[in-house]
């Protein structure tokens, strides 16, 4: 990786961290359970990009496998909470 690309990727990581911090505010203040789960879903999908960036920086392909499992677990978590809100779990 050359220098300019590395600096641009660092900037992208910083912007993603800022976005995750703002989403976490909604996770804290969200009035109902639905709002909190929306913020949780967006947090996990946003951190998929952050984990992929870390994998590129560390040059370890294993982190991408972790990424796939992480996305799968967040999907299942949102579905399960949806069933719980519907009171059919």
């Amino acid at each position: 990786m050359n220098n300019i690309a590395e600096i641009l990727l660092l900037i992208a990581g910083g912007i993603i961290l800022l976005a995750l911090a703002i989403i976490f505010i909604r996770f804290l203040i969200g009035p109902t359970l639905t709002n909190r789960i929306i913020a949780f879903d967006t947090l996990t999908v946003g951190s998929l990009g952050l984990i992929a960036l870390i994998a590129v920086f560390e040059e370890r392909q294993l982190y991408l496998d972790v990424n796939i499992i992480y996305g799968l677990l967040s999907f299942i978590a949102v579905i399960v909470v949806g069933k719980y809100i519907e009171k059919t779990l």
Partner: protein
């Protein structure tokens, strides 16, 4: 090769900016239905842009990046649809400026029809 990496890094920065827009929308939107629309659409686009950009930065890992991209694009709309349908059924309030609620009309029609026939 170097130009390809720089183009990929610029696409990654664009994706992170889209995620920032999603975060601002989550704070500013009035009710949960608008928030899930902003959150799901923008975060899916941001993951897609980030994966495409990183695939340009490291071309030998393109298979796993495309796998993650396809997985997120398949599952994210499904999970948001299930969540909001459930919370609409549980009575999540709409914002004051909402003028139309098609799902409630459909449910009412269904209830009336079943009562009439049975």
């Amino acid at each position: 090769m170097e130009y390809l990496q720089i183009i990929g890094a610029v696409i990654v920065v664009l994706g992170s900016l889209v995620l920032l827009i999603a975060a601002i929308g989550l704070i500013r939107m009035p009710d949960a239905y608008n928030r899930i629309q902003v959150g799901t659409k923008a975060s899916t686009l941001s993951v897609a842009l980030i994966m495409i950009g990183l695939a340009l930065v490291i071309p030998s890992w393109v298979g796993k990046f495309i796998t993650i991209l396809l997985f997120v694009m398949l599952t994210n709309p499904i999970s948001s649809n299930v969540l909001m349908r459930a919370s609409h059924k549980a009575g999540e309030p709409l914002s004051q400026v909402t003028v139309i609620d098609k799902l409630k009309e459909d449910e009412d029609n269904e209830k009336n029809n079943s009562n009439g026939t049975v």
